[in-house]
């Protein structure tokens, strides 16, 4: 059971990572990256590393995602005007 879940989680993680790089739309890529970060949080808790899970959620997915989204906001704003 644990093995199957881990395998599935690992595959989901790799899939989200792949989509992050391969998606043509940069906005979706960033969203996928945040998804990747949340999946990674799960992985950390599976690995009995709750400290990292917390940090990953807050910093890895949260702050980095916000930074990237903001950067895209600038990108889009410029393109429109």
């Amino acid at each position: 059971m644990g093995f199957a879940f881990d395998l599935l989680l690992a595959l989901a993680l790799l899939w989200s990572a792949w989509r992050t790089l391969a998606t043509p739309d940069i906005f979706r890529a960033v969203i996928l990256f945040i998804v990747f970060g949340l999946l990674l949080t799960l992985v950390w808790s599976r690995l009995a590393a709750p400290d990292i899970a917390l940090a990953e959620a807050a910093i890895g997915a949260g702050l980095t995602g916000a930074l990237l989204l903001d950067a895209i906001g600038v990108l889009r704003g410029r393109k429109k005007s």
Partner: protein, 104 residues
């Protein structure tokens, strides 16, 4: 196969993907994303391999915490540079041949 080893293997793939991404992609934001994937891959290998016997190991966990903070610092720095470059040139790519037309 323990979860540690599974995720370590996933980490290797992630690292390879991320590295290829940093090398191949043109869009700066994507390269930054790829760099983050690369770092996450290395962290996974570190913890996964160390905990391949299933026992938690606080030492690599602390190292990864350090690594995550370093990675976010690098990401912020890269974004700051990329955004500034975007403000100056209007593009999120690196000019192909620079240093030829000295403009500084």
């Amino acid at each position: 196969m323990t979860s540690g080893l599974i995720f370590a293997c996933a980490g290797v793939v992630l690292f390879a993907m991320g590295t290829a991404g940093v090398v191949l992609l043109d869009h700066l934001l994507r390269r930054i994303l790829a760099f983050n994937l690369m770092g996450s891959g290395a962290f996974l290998v570190l913890i996964g391999l160390a905990q391949r016997d299933g026992m938690p190991d606080p030492v690599p966990q602390a190292m990864v915490l350090t690594g995550i903070v370093v990675a976010v610092a690098a990401t912020a720095l890269a974004l700051a540079l990329a955004r500034r470059l975007f403000a100056l040139t209007g593009g999120y790519g690196l000019p192909q041949s620079e240093a030829k037309d000295g403009n500084d």
